[in-house]
């Protein structure tokens, strides 16, 4: 515990903000693939390094940061689309096709880095990023550079996040959006109602990929560089954040899922910040992360237990015992369910 001054407390609140806001987009992407489409999409770990590397190189070449952002979104979208094509048409289980796309994107990021002389960096002071154009402006307006910096993450990051979250909320409320949700949850019912399950899967995974691509690009713009190793552990970040958020918001509706993704992302990075205070050497950090996941899952059980009790009380007044059916899943149940899904993925895809 070296931190002491008032700046420590201030920092405690500000330092996790950039990661929180940037990776909220990744968590939403994971939410779409994992919860809505019911697949664990590991291509996330390839999209992040490819987009960080591409963004850093593009900005270094003098390309506008928002153009780099769009290109990254397109890379993510293309990855998601290819990934879904592998699953839908070549019948490769989703877990495996995700790994294939991860390897392909990771490989491409290495190629781009090598072509660029083994580096992918740009000088923050010489180039505008999605964040510092506003930060610079705020500094000129007289704000201290410390606040100007973090305020730019809150404003720009918050705006991008809000825009995307609202767009998704509305899109998934349209007929097409609802069909995507339906196709992910129940293929038989969807087909019986004329929903093109394959097409919906392709659209859904593409949107998920695009979101992850944007997160990768913003991450590079936050760092000032990209690395081909940036993607390591990203799926864990995404899932842990999602589970954390779902502890609060549950997973009853799409809106709650979006909120869970966003709030969960911030929660995750604040918890990491606490863990960093405890363990500055980082030796135990990964171990703590594992414990964190266990605690989240246990808490999930607890929340489920309590909600079942409350619901039972409510329902008893309203309906017969026969009508009761619990839909709230705890994270551990979800894990189990999805584990069998991984294993049986090939079998399921066939139908």
């Amino acid at each position: 515990m070296i931190l002491s001054s008032s700046t420590s407390i201030q920092n405690f609140f500000f330092a996790p903000l950039p990661n929180g806001v940037i990776f909220a987009l990744l968590v939403i992407g994971v939410f779409l693939s994992f919860r809505i489409l019911d697949v664990a999409d590991l291509s996330v770990e390839g999209i992040i390094p490819l987009t960080t590397v591409v963004t850093a190189i593009l900005i270094h070449q003098g390309i506008n940061c928002f153009v780099a952002l769009l290109i990254s979104a397109f890379i993510g979208l293309a990855t998601g689309l290819l990934n879904s094509l592998l699953t839908v048409y070549l019948k490769i289980p989703a877990l495996l096709s995700g790994i294939i796309m991860m390897a392909a994107n990771f490989g491409l990021s290495i190629v781009f880095m090598s072509l660029n002389g083994g580096v992918a960096t740009f000088a923050m002071s010489a180039h505008l990023t999605a964040f510092n154009w506003l930060g610079n402006g705020l500094k000129v307006a007289g704000l201290s550079s410390y606040y100007a910096n973090y305020l730019s993450y809150i404003i720009v990051g918050g705006a991008i996040l809000a825009l995307i979250a609202f767009a998704l909320y509305f899109f998934f409320g349209t007929e097409l959006g609802m069909s995507i949700r339906a196709a992910g949850k129940n293929k038989h019912m969807s087909r019986a109602n004329g929903i093109q399950v394959k097409g919906m899967f392709m659209i859904g995974l593409s949107i998920s990929g695009a979101l992850v691509g944007i997160a990768g690009s913003l991450y590079a713009q936050h760092n000032g560089f990209g690395y081909s190793t940036d993607g390591t552990g990203m799926i864990v970040v995404g899932l842990s954040s999602l589970f954390l958020g779902e502890l609060i918001f549950g997973q009853k509706s799409f809106k709650r899922g979006l909120l869970a993704s966003i709030v969960g992302s911030f929660l995750y990075w604040y918890i990491i910040q606490v863990l960093m205070l405890i363990d500055t050497n980082g030796y135990l950090l990964n171990f703590y992360k594992a414990i964190l996941l266990v605690v989240v899952i246990l808490l999930g059980h607890l929340v489920k237990h309590v909600t079942v009790k409350i619901n039972n009380k409510k329902n008893r007044m309203r309906m017969t015992q026969e009508g009761e059916r619990e839909t709230i899943q705890s994270p551990s149940e979800m894990l189990q369910e999805n584990f069998s899904h991984f294993v049986l993925g090939a079998e399921r895809k066939r139908s």
Partner: protein, 272 residues
């Protein structure tokens, strides 16, 4: 006066390959021909493995067929996908979990069904106040007390309620053909009776040509105007009109027994 033909099946063959050895192929349908006319409510019975479920799935498009043709109101459906056929054909499954989406609300489920087989717009809202009022009205007519629960997730409903709702969903947009795949088999006897009554009422009310598979021979005799019995991928017995009405459960069991031992499962005998 000649009745209008709705569904025409000509010599349908369906084989499932178990492995690469053609000797191990399982012939599920061996030349099924059947015509369903306007106003027909056909019940289908048969032992396990007789091919009755396969027949339904072939009509619906879940399984492609090798030979034969499926003509619905003059359209050849053989090459159409399951999704495309959904525009004309509605289905209710045996498993109450299969016909609806548990995690989505009753309103959302109904809304999906109301646009069965139509283009899904990325711009138009799926849920509207107008729809909500219309659906509530319809639910009221079911007398199941569901009209106030439009926003509850499907998962909170009982099996019987879900099958009733699935029936309603199947008829929201009137289909040219309704396929019922043992849709009461997973319910307790009392609920099954209620759902069967509701089925009969809806089919008659909307005059929907219907093909219903059932395990329950009493139901097969009591409901509908035609009955067919299948065995080893073929239709082996047909009855309609007066002949069907006068059938007894024992007659059907005798017919089964005449086919040889072990073709009639215990559950079917117990069901009667």
């Amino acid at each position: 006066m000649e009745k209008e033909k709705i569904l025409e099946l000509y010599d349908i063959h369906k084989t499932f390959s178990m492995d690469t050895n053609p000797l191990n192929d399982k012939k599920a349908l061996r030349g099924v021909s059947l015509t369903i006319y306007e106003g027909d409510f056909v019940s289908v019975i048969g032992s396990n493995g007789s091919g009755k479920s396969t027949l339904l799935n072939c009509i619906a498009g879940r399984f492609p067929i090798e030979e034969g043709s499926i003509i619905l109101n003059g359209r050849e459906l053989r090459k159409d996908s399951e999704e495309k056929r959904a525009k004309y054909i509605a289905r209710v499954f045996q498993d109450p979990l299969e016909g609806t989406i548990a995690s989505m609300s009753l309103f959302e489920n109904l809304s999906i069904a109301s646009r069965r087989g139509e283009r899904q717009s990325p711009l138009r809202w799926a849920l509207s106040k107008k729809k909500e009022v219309a659906f509530a009205e319809l639910l009221k007519s079911l007398n199941l007390g569901l009209e106030n629960r439009l926003n509850s997730p499907m998962g909170t409903f009982s099996g019987g309620q879900r099958q009733s709702i699935t029936l309603l969903m199947a008829t929201l947009k009137k289909p040219e053909l309704l396929l019922l795949d043992e849709h009461t088999a997973a319910l307790d006897p009392k609920t099954a009776r209620t759902v069967m009554e509701l089925t009969n009422q809806m089919v008659r009310e909307h005059n929907i040509p219907t093909l219903m598979i059932t395990h329950n021979m009493k139901d097969a005799i009591a409901y509908g105007n035609r009955l067919i019995m299948m065995n080893e991928g073929k239709i082996i017995f047909e009855a309609e009109g007066e002949e069907k009405k006068n059938l007894k459960v024992q007659d059907l069991i005798d017919k089964f027994n005449a086919l040889g031992e072990g073709t009639l499962s215990d559950s079917q005998i117990l069901a009667n």
